[in-house]
Symmetry: C3
């Protein structure tokens, strides 16, 4: 790679790190439209145990729903680990762990611990999520393959 | 932005990431002066449930106090999540989750799970913390707004 | 530092962040050879409570062993925190927390919370782990010194 390409790779990795780091704060703050806007207009959030939500309106509705609202009203933290990023031009993938902590009487429990594969796209708005696949790390072969990139 | 400004932004983000990553290890090692030196000389650490500590001597005294010393003597880990960073010249903000794990008979419990807003300043010593605001994610509206940047 | 050295430092830090971020996914996916290949051929993994494993074959055998296999079959997540990185030419150190979550009937427990000191080397294959020292943060003075860099 020449210097310009190496510099662009650093900037892309930084932008992707930033995009992913923004999900948790928006989800916990209850900024459902803001969280949905991390996806492309027709992006997909495939949530282990719940199903596939396609498009910003559907992702927003998921977060506005009773389940997510009860979680954040009680006190929650959607942590995402430092990602493993693979760039491929205007596409990229990232793999992260997510840990959702849930407040239970002043202690916090790890309510969901998941593998996440993010398919990312460079758009006119910057990097956005084309598809996020989330699977609980409960021993399932699928979740283990997802986090491992296999 | 021209190339020099883009490069400077990458370096600033890296330096801020490094600054924040250093807090936990210093806190858990019991290097109280080292942890306090991450702040500006008159910086503030506003700790949810405890109050506001202004200046390095006050922050050091907080960490040298019985509560923190008992925590680290029993086994603790002050984890900070990948930050959401916003640069504004010689100022910046970062938002992170913090999770304090506490050893209880060979298992670790998430003792405090908090939202943190870091107001950062570029100084002659490099980036330093002007004010860190920490609030427990126990469902409070204030903590949710803090992590969301609202 | 001149511009070329500053750019190289950013790239080195990015490469080290990437190397460390890859450990957990390989460990949880059960890609034992892949995880071992993050080390130099004669690299060492010194695991608190277990002992010292020298060379890729030994590290691979550790991960292929009954203990690790039972852990990942039940559902696990090996999270690593954002590292504190210190570059020194073709060597570097990084310090991270690790948290191993273990699925227990649909809840996850923090099974091991540890300090990790990574001694890293620039090789023909890129940055690799020369020695990783892991110690449980159970209040031991050694673990506290390890995470603090003391």
């Amino acid at each position: 790679m020449d210097n310009a390409a190496r510099f662009a790779a650093l900037e892309d990795r930084e932008a992707i790190r930033d995009l992913i780091a923004r999900y948790g704060p928006l989800a916990d703050a209850g900024d459902c439209a803001g969280a949905a806007a991390l996806w492309t207009p027709d992006g997909v959030y495939d949530v282990g145990g719940y199903g596939e939500y396609r498009g910003r309106a559907a992702i927003r509705a998921l977060l506005e729903g009773d389940m997510h609202q009860a979680l954040i009203a009680g006190g929650s933290a959607h942590l995402l680990s430092p990602p493993v990023i693979e760039l491929a031009g205007d596409r990229a993938t990232a793999r992260t762990y997510s840990v959702v902590f849930h407040n239970r009487g002043g202690q916090w429990e790890a309510h969901r611990v998941s593998a996440n594969l993010w398919h990312l796209e460079r758009t006119d708005e910057g990097w956005r999520v084309g598809r996020r696949i989330n699977r609980l790390l409960d021993g399932s072969v699928e979740a283990r393959a997802l986090i491992g990139g296999g």
